[in-house]
Symmetry: C2
Subunit: 226 residues, 2 copies
DNA sequence: GCCTCCCGACTGGTATGGAAGTATGCATTC
DNA sequence: GAATGCATACTTCCATACCAGTCGGGAGGC
């Protein structure tokens, strides 16, 4: 981690440090287990320890960092059980969202989903993995929006971010082709207005990490809690 | 708010102030829209402003408080859309949990659920509303535990807390008899090992707030965002 | 060699003062 | 009387200083 953020004095320092660190963690530039030092960071970006400290507190609330009193602050390692938990919740929620969207799908809405999939294929052909992860977020977000449950996404986003950390870190490990095909299967069901099929396709899609996880865990064991 | 917490010097001050304030908010002793002051609170419990400030930050991360820069910190008002969102997620997740529990229910497990319901009836007969809300938490928590998804509860807890604020504030507004009967219907389905029935009973149970919410909103409009 | 103890260099936690922004009441002006 | 300007008393935010707990290394004793 050599980069440092450019400070904008319009918003509070603590807020900016928080956003910057969060971004660095989610992108995998700060790897699980790495140590964060209040004084080191504050010294580097030229502010006092206090705002940095407050950023740490917010990261800890997000589950992205772990503050060990009088000992140090560390990027939290990925907990397998937390990932499984996030997956379970996503499967439950997004399958319900799929049903709801399938029930109200129209031609215009289907076009919006198709546009997203087209964008995913373009990103894949450019082998732009970071962009693909962003587009994957957008696809799942669109599902919440079209279900008329925008607010649900903000909760899912927090859960999904834990899973995305895995992807950014081991960016080549997942098969984007397969994921896009699964997205397509979901959209097919939406187009047909078939709620059962949409739910089934979504559940199948969200089982995917169950396949990837052991592989990733074997390849990079120290990213995970013991 | 006249009470004040007793400080235990084993855990950090900030942590204790956070827990204390959180409890006060969830119990409805601090009502939505009320103002929080760093200096007022710190002066009252005899600590410096810093730990109080850090507690505020954590409350804001939970969505329980709102920090308006240079203006003040306020107990956040309840957002109807946030409650609806929490309800949606709970319905999706807990109906899946119900299915899973129904599939693996045995006599011993059913006894544990029955014991919870008995406790609920006792609390009701004592008209102990606070205890009843606690027991309601425990019932839904037990469901997650028996499904083997303990970690899911911690996410649900955050969502449920927003809904519980409503109950503590307008504590007489809900019909505990009806809720217990619905709990019983869920346990009946678990006893029968009938996943479909368990899911249906849970969904019906979690639709309950849809009935209560407009009534509560009409009765206490300034607890809600405009 | 091995263990124990102690010292120093860290860590996060707390206290406090001051800077900057905001709301409010009052005097002044039109 | 209505509107404007201003002093003042707040607020959060940041910087600084100090405290206490933790960890690691080296000296000394066995």
């Amino acid at each position: 981690m050599v980069a440092q953020p450019e400070l904008d004095f319009a918003v509070s320092t603590a807020q900016q440090v928080y956003r910057w660190l969060r971004e660095e963690i989610l992108r995998g530039n700060l790897i699980p287990g790495a140590r964060l030092s209040e004084s080191e960071i504050s010294g580097r970006i030229g502010v006092s320890r206090q705002p940095v400290r407050e950023a740490f507190i917010r990261l800890a609330a997000d589950g992205l960092a772990e503050i060990r009193p009088q000992r140090g602050t560390y990027i939290s390692r990925i907990s397998v059980s937390a990932v499984m938990c996030a997956r379970f919740i996503r499967e439950a929620v997004e399958s319900d969202l799929s049903r709801k969207v399938a029930a109200r799908a129209d031609a215009e809405m289907v076009r919006r989903f198709e546009a997203e999939i087209a964008a995913q294929r373009r990103a894949l052909s450019r082998e732009d993995a970071v962009e693909f992860v962003n587009l994957d977020d957008r696809f799942h977000r669109l599902l919440a929006v079209e279900a008329g449950e925008d607010a649900v996404w903000s909760v899912l986003e927090g859960l999904k971010s834990q899973m995305n950390r895995l992807r950014h870190i081991t960016v080549k490990a997942f098969d984007a082709h397969k994921l896009i095909d699964q997205h397509e299967a979901i959209v097919d069901a939406l187009r047909a207005g078939d709620a059962d099929a949409a739910e089934a396709a979504m559940r199948r899609h969200l089982c995917e990490v169950l396949h990837d996880l052991p592989e990733i865990q074997k390849r990079a064991p120290d990213l995970f809690c013991p």
